[in-house]
């Protein structure tokens, strides 16, 4: 076993024995994300555990250690004309693969290509008893045993330490173009909806500052044809615009206001809340930049009414659970799973929910 893994294991075994809580940390790029309490515990640093384990372009699979910087992984894929299709945020290069999977965050392409969880094929995991476990694998289809690899995606490290992950990768599109339309929110939503019902090569949509941006990705002739169909002006700065949406560096996200992320049914009507709003994923993702007097209860009620949930993305408040609270029956299952994977409750306590 490599020395780093040995150290990590030792650390976990000891923590389990002493019931010492740990904060699992990769690049620290998501310290802002989730409930803050977990951050005060001793850090279990994953970043040193780096490196590509296996990459075969013709298999469409890459496996890497959890501490591997995400942008390093992505540039390797890019050299071979491939990509992580869920377009994860890399937060200025600080993000690691492990953190990416643990947080399960996906970028603008998510509404069209799928989420982080859709591309996870396997994980190597260190559980709360200090056991190293392998789930899933490097093949596209695998229904042997429960899908523990996907269960880790978005669990915020509360179920175990991700040591390695294998992901499905996809070829990069031959051509990309962003169209821009001046549109009020109702019409923007309507346009997004119309796109979803047709086979257009749309790979991202965003309504922000009264403009609707539609990104087309695919072979040149299909992008051309879609452009003709949709009309609109070609927006020059294709790359940096979508980067700024993916990493939330666009001015919309940068104010001092609280940033709420609402994941809702794509056809939900515009929200009647007085705050600045941005929309992605064909209407399924809504951002609120809200003043503090806009209460969590009010925001969450709106999200629920729209068939989804609301997360306090930036602007932590010790009195507000970052993630949408669970109904009792689901919480019961969550607690039991937590106890099975991490009996002493040492991994990232309360990072996900105040209850564990």
């Amino acid at each position: 076993m490599e020395a780093i893994v040995e150290q990590l294991t030792e650390c976990v075994v000891k923590a389990n024995k002493n019931k010492q809580a740990l904060c699992i940390r990769g690049g620290g790029s998501k310290d802002f994300y989730g409930n803050a309490r977990a951050l005060r515990y001793p850090k279990l640093e994953i970043r040193p555990y780096q490196g590509i384990v296996d990459y075969e372009p013709s298999e469409l699979v890459v496996s890497a250690r959890a501490g591997t910087p995400l942008n390093e992984l992505e540039s390797l894929l890019s050299e071979h004309g491939q990509m992580l299709a869920f377009e994860p945020p890399d937060f200025n290069g600080a993000a690691t693969l492990g953190g990416c999977i643990a947080a399960g965050l996906s970028g603008p392409r998510r509404g069209y290509a799928g989420a982080a969880r859709d591309f996870v094929l396997g994980v190597k995991l260190l559980d709360g008893r200090g056991r190293i476990l392998n789930f899933g694998g490097r093949v596209m289809k695998n229904v042997a045993g429960y899908d523990v690899s996907r269960l880790m995606t978005g669990a915020m490290g509360t179920l175990g330490v991700i040591l390695e992950a294998s992901l499905k990768v996809l070829p990069k599109p031959e051509s990309e173009r962003t169209l821009c339309f001046e549109l009020p929110v109702e019409e923007a939503l309507e346009t997004m909806r119309r796109c979803a019902g047709q086979t257009l090569p749309v790979s991202a949509t965003c309504h922000i500052d009264r403009r609707l941006y539609i990104r087309l990705s695919g072979i040149e002739s299909a992008v051309d044809a879609a452009h003709v169909k949709l009309g609109g002006d070609e927006f020059g700065d294709n790359l940096s615009f979508w980067e700024s949406i993916k990493n939330q560096t666009h001015p919309f996200f940068r104010g001092n206001k609280r940033l709420w992320r609402l994941s809702v049914k794509s056809t939900a009507p515009p929200f009647s809340i007085t705050c600045e709003q941005a929309i992605e994923w064909g209407g399924a993702l809504r951002w609120f930049a809200a003043a503090e007097d806009c209460t969590a209860t009010a925001v969450r009620a709106q999200a629920e009414k729209a068939g989804g949930h609301a997360m306090l993305f930036r602007g932590k408040d010790p009195n507000i659970s970052a993630f949408h609270p669970l109904p009792p029956a689901l919480l019961k299952i969550h607690r039991r799973l937590k106890r099975q994977f991490d009996p002493a409750g040492i991994f990232n306590p309360q990072r996900l929910f105040p209850e564990f």
Binding site: E56, P57, S58, E59, L60, G81, G114, A115, D118, G122, K124, I132, L133, N134, G137, R138, V139, M140, K141, N142, V143, A144, G145, Y146, D147, V148, R150, L151, T153, L159, P171, E174, R193, A196, G197, Q198, T199, P201, I219, S221, A222, A226, S263, K265, S266, T267, W281, A284, G308, H309, H324, P325, L326, A329, L330, I333, H334, R336, Q340, F341
Partner: protein, 484 residues
């Protein structure tokens, strides 16, 4: 509780024709698609709504009676095989499509709805449900979720897990869970993924919201014949390497081609050692461009014949051959045993060679069809159950194939599930600690292990015994292969 009392209790909840206990009434439920395993249940119940299921589960929980869910019973690993002292819970009567939302591109359906019925009902809106198992006329969406079923179009459009949004699930303890949502993600753990492929072990699925996709403008199919299986395998890799994600990428070997041609007259080249079917779909521009690239690659890879379907009828005929591979096996042999291993594509030729060696070793013929694009093999072992010892031979042959898949870094099941059939091989693919976690996951949902007991995850004891036997037989051992 004795059976008679249980029947009485169920009859208070359900009309009497929905509570079956006479042997002749139970017979249709004694097996699923893996008919080598048969077992009559104590009782079968056919509820017609969720409220009835809740009451049934209450009784079973109180009396600690095992419950086995069943959709259409087309499963190929014995997942729906009844429990001798248990209740067989058929979801067949919950077969309503509750809502199609063409704006959101979703359908909300009951678990007993047939896979194909969803696409048929969505057709009016220009939409369809993408995962298309070959059994799609018969199998239910509840069964699809429980098995994470795939189909020939899954390479591009994903498996069941990628195409569902939300489930309603009843736990054996009587809780009603809403898992997932109408949004693209949910708060908390990804229980939607955990439920998908869980083989009826974690809960009873009572409602499913699926994603619908717009029907592609057009689809086109290339059929390429090769005089050598290895070349066909290379062609598959070359297509993927070239950055193409075809809508379907399937392969058949010589024996399959012959069986299918004889049955369907699909127009396959009878002299070919292997045939690769490669489909492109999307806008007219995309398809024209992709088909040209695919033809070039097939040519470069040494195809001896390349046909592009000249019209829709021919495209359907080319596909019909592939989709009829299982029944075609049934015509050339009294019985066949369908395997379902997955491997990294690069090992295709080598694995095929080893299967061929085993075929002579066991003296049983084997047809090979694959979802080649995602490395999912379906070797069909031909045997005659009426000849004494042949079934056992076929099973031993099948077990060896799965072991080869595991050795090659693959998995013992790509889409048919573990069920009762592949419990032993689970002991090889997973170590004790992983299996321990699987039992722990089960316990989090079903602490008394009443749902489908004895399936999917082998007990520690079983693996210990199997391990001893495995070494005892003096066969090759499996070093603890890293699975990454």
């Amino acid at each position: 509780m004795p059976r008679a009392n249980l029947v009485k209790a169920f009859r208070k909840l359900l009309p009497s024709e929905s509570v079956l206990f006479e042997p002749e009434d139970l017979r249709p439920y004694e097996c699923d698609g893996l008919s080598a395993y048969r077992q009559m249940p104590m009782i079968a119940v056919l509820p017609s709504n969720e409220a009835e299921i809740i009451e049934i589960l209450k009784i079973c929980t109180a009396e600690k009676i095992p419950v086995v869910a069943r959709g259409a019973g087309t499963g190929l690993s014995g997942g729906a095989l009844p429990h001798a002292d248990g209740v067989l819970l058929s979801l067949a009567k919950l077969n309503e499509i509750l809502e199609i939302d063409p704006d959101a591109c979703t359908a909300r359906v009951q678990p007993g709805v047939r896979n194909l019925a969803i696409s048929e009902a969505s057709e009016a809106y220009g939409l369809y449900y993408a995962p298309d198992p070959s059994s799609q006329i018969a199998c239910t969406i509840g069964g699809n979720v429980a098995e994470n079923s795939g189909g020939v179009h899954c390479l591009k459009y994903g498996l069941t897990v990628h195409n569902i949004l939300k489930l309603r699930v009843l736990t054996i303890e009587g809780d009603s869970l809403e898992i997932g949502s109408e949004a693209l993600d949910s708060s908390g753990f990804d229980l939607l993924a955990l439920m998908t492929g869980s083989e009826g072990m974690l809960g009873i699925i009572t409602e499913i919201t699926v994603k619908l996709l717009p029907k592609p403008e057009t689809a086109q199919l290339v059929m390429a014949a090769f005089d050598d299986v290895e070349k066909a395998g290379a062609a598959v890799a070359n297509i993927i390497q070239a950055g193409i994600v075809p809508a379907g990428l399937e392969m058949m070997d010589r024996m399959t081609i012959a069986a299918v041609e004889d049955f369907i007259h699909a127009g396959y080249d009878p002299d070919a050692a292997a045939i690769v079917l490669c489909e492109s779909d999307g806008s007219n521009e995309e398809v024209a461009d992709e088909i040209e690239k695919i033809r070039d690659i097939m040519h470069m890879s040494g195809a001896v014949r390349i046909d592009t379907a000249r019209n829709e009828a021919e495209r359907r005929r080319f596909w019909a051959g592939r989709k009829a591979a299982f029944p075609a096996a049934g015509r050339v042999s009294p019985d066949y045993y369908c395997m379902d291993g997955t491997i990294p594509r690069k090992h295709l030729a080598e694995v095929l060679r080893r299967i061929e060696d085993l075929s002579s070793e066991f003296g049983l013929r084997c047809m090979n069809v694959f979802h080649a694009g995602d490395g999912n093999l379906h070797p069909l072992i031909l045997y005659d159950a009426n000849r004494s010892g042949e079934l056992e031979k076929a099973e031993a042959f099948g077990a060896r194939i799965l072991e080869i898949c595991i050795e090659a870094g693959g998995s013992l099941t790509g889409e048919h599930g573990v069920g009762i059939e592949k419990l032993n091989q689970m002991c090889l693919q997973f170590g004790e600690a992983e299996r321990d976690i699987f039992h722990a996951v089960k316990a989090a949902f079903d602490p008394d292990a009443l749902l489908n007991p004895g399936k999917a995850i082998p007990s520690l004891r079983r693996c210990a015994e199997f391990g001893a036997m495995h070494v005892h037989r003096g066969e090759e051992k499996f070093p603890d292969l890293p699975r990454f």
